[in-house]
Symmetry: C2
Subunit: 352 residues, 2 copies
Amino acid sequence: MSELKNDRFLRALMKQPVDTTPIWIMRQAGRYLPEYREVRAKAGGFMDLCENADLACEVTMQPLERYDLDAAILFSDILTIPDAMGLGLYFAEGEGPKFERPLKTLADVQKIAIPDPEDELRYVMNAVRTIRKELNGKVPLIGFSGSPWTLATYMVEGGTTKDFGKVKGMMFSNPQAMHLLLDKLAQSVTSYLNAQIAAGAQAVMVFDTWGGVLSDEKYEEFSLRYMQQIVSGLTREADGRKVPVTLFTKGGGRWLEKMAATGCDALGLDWTQDISQARQRVGDAVALQGNMDPSVLYAEPEVIKSEAKKVLDGFGEGPGHIFNLGHGIHQHIDPDKVNVLVDSVHEYGKTS
Amino acid sequence: MSELKNDRFLRALMKQPVDTTPIWIMRQAGRYLPEYREVRAKAGGFMDLCENADLACEVTMQPLERYDLDAAILFSDILTIPDAMGLGLYFAEGEGPKFERPLKTLADVQKIAIPDPEDELRYVMNAVRTIRKELNGKVPLIGFSGSPWTLATYMVEGGTTKDFGKVKGMMFSNPQAMHLLLDKLAQSVTSYLNAQIAAGAQAVMVFDTWGGVLSDEKYEEFSLRYMQQIVSGLTREADGRKVPVTLFTKGGGRWLEKMAATGCDALGLDWTQDISQARQRVGDAVALQGNMDPSVLYAEPEVIKSEAKKVLDGFGEGPGHIFNLGHGIHQHIDPDKVNVLVDSVHEYGKTS
């Protein structure tokens, strides 16, 4: 493997000094980029794009050509694992992801098997290998997965949901089935992320998109516990370098101390949390990633600069901050705005 | 006006001793009830139902006939004010509320006028008067409004939204227009709620459904500040009795102390907040309303009872608790489950 030319991102995750604050952007390879939309149209379905290592690599590299970003993230979907478990993932136009065979009963859960990452999910590992080679040490590559609870919501609901009635129905009425499902998912995510690390991912992130819809008690029992299981089971070193793990629960500001106590290296923050308070709460335990409101990018350059500065000032001096949005970039953002953001973070980040 | 036979709800809002914990349920008059669906079908459109005082009264009374609830809530919509402002509210089948003429510019905002509650919104006041008469002192009647920020989101987005891009775009790029809009809305909500109180509402509640999508700083500037303005402008006494005001920001657990400092009497809590911690944080400043996860009602009676008990135990001893769900009841809940909840709260609430 070629030497890493820009290791700001990995150093910041380990709370080591950096020359300026690193930045990457959730969904940086995505629909706001015209060149992405072109490849996406060429590929056919969204999963066709994920399953083709060359195309997945092409779209992963696109934002790095436009912007001075400090990390690449594997282009893939969080629902690859449930799909590999045989639930039949498909994307209905304008409706988000759906499953042909959602889980309803304990028997359904008992039937599902833990996928072999180098078999059913080999296309993901091939993408990781292709991207890592193409990056050629430019910046580190982030691998990722959905959290067990987040994957379970889609698997039980059969798609996106507004009220989480089915998955919470199973949680309240049939906790045995829910725990069996979450344990299978934690095992699957662990082996999936370890395979990504073996294939070349230099940092990994667990996206707990829906943990925030739980109460304190249920979050600990049904989401955090299984992320803890994953953190404990991950390979934490590759190529003689630490592989940092970041946990991100959207709407999870209440639980930062508990999340930090899992032994992860960093926490992702959504924009609703005050990063200065978050840093006070977690102390030296973890690095922090985030957390500008993605909607700031609808505003003019001056507002983008001042809002980015607020986040940098909020984190304050010293290492351990990776700049990001508090959620994925919206599809209707003008791509030129991202240049304003990236450059102002690098410029202002030198002094903070 | 006839004497109030059950004042548990009003007493609890004032933190006065009660014989058992009062309970009402957000959206208690709604689609989960077959008798509601029947009236709704008969009425035509949803707004036809709101605009007909007799039908609005009929559906308001329905849950009180089935359940031993301690309060009635006016049947209406939070979007009556923007509709009265001339934005053209309509309901597209399966898509939620929409506006024909959403606000885009400062000029759009400058054009809108503050509605006269006894003119453009007279149908709401008529419903309040009809319901109050029909209640005949059985339980108190709650009036309500959306918060300025929440109303503004619909008025600028033109309907429901996933990313709040337009309304936040205006907030970040054109704060002058946004503040003008929010000030007009705060004035409108104040006169609207005061008119509801004059017409017979015995308590009022402000629903800030979308305050939780803001950062700390923006919440204070764009949502809380205008709820404060409303609280300061409300008539707080009617028929020689205090008219308590409750503020509810969904996802607003971070701001309980600040919300309590507005001078309101009670805070609504969504289910993601620990009610025991919430009580510690607000102390004696306000009563608390909530906060069982609405999805618990998908579970069997035993689970409903034990989860309700957890909320009651979480609040602990002493007055100042009004039991409710942490959000509106879901439409697919079995109506018989609500009896289980109401009766177990009243039974267990005696000892707590």
